[in-house]
Amino acid sequence: MFGKTDQDPGAPTERTDPFQSTGKTSGEVSIISADLKVIGNLQSDGEIQIDGTVEGDIKSRTLTVGERAQIQGSISADTVRICGSISGKVDATTVKITKTANVASDINYQSLSIEDGAVLEGSIRRVDSSKPASDSKVSTLKPSVAPAAPKVGAPVGAASRGEADSKPMVG
């Protein structure tokens, strides 16, 4: 796998190099690749691109659900672009659903676009608020239990719904 990098003569030593930096260049965008399966929750204050499988909830600023992605769980983000399959609740300011998408979700949005050809089942509700329903401050996620990660069976849709309902209604 690192043989690839070795081909580049200018590349510095494979193992020390880019991973040392804590700077902005490194790891700015998160990528869940097609063969990666995540069982658990993701929370980011940045950008996530998902092409793999996620069983759990996702909170992010910007989220792109790739064509091959499969997500079971609730999504809350500022901006979501959906090209893949999702089931679970979606809470976002801007939702874009492209033609390859297969969405079985209830969607709360402020701005929505659905491309011709998209498959969509579920209720769609406009949240009329200056803040998105998901706009609770993104804090660092800490495990509720020790490293032994919870095997997520059922997404915590109910919990996040209650939270979403109670927050932005004022104003």
Binding site: M1, P18, T25, G27, Q43, S44, P147, K151
Partner: protein, 148 residues
Amino acid sequence: MFSKAVGLEHTLLGHTGLFGPAGLVPGAGVGADDLSVIGAGLSVVGDLRSPGEIQVFGAVYGEVNSRTVIVAASGHVEGWIYASKVYVHGSFTGRIEAIEVTVTSTATIFGDIYHHILTVDPNAVIDGLRPWRPRSHLEERRPWHPGE
């Protein structure tokens, strides 16, 4: 925004072929099936499974099961790592089981490292046991594959 990602590709990997010339195309897939990046702002509570490579710049609390796992200097993993190769530049708490483990000088590890080949740079902090195991023993524990 995706131009950033192209830059990332350069800095991270030192070569350009991975994502293709178009860089990251939203929705089109990144073109690199085997590289996943847990970015600096991302926390994952749960398990990660991949037959490919996972680079952690953010935080993971749970089990990581992959061919190659890289914990970057800014990265933090708490839990178990099963892999064939593990590179730790950042902080790790828990247990590593891997054939090849490389711990660099910026790393801080609390926990045990089950390994066949272990490389530790000076100044690395390792608080735990470092048991050697035959390759076959570790291979048995090795990654999950899709379809499992």
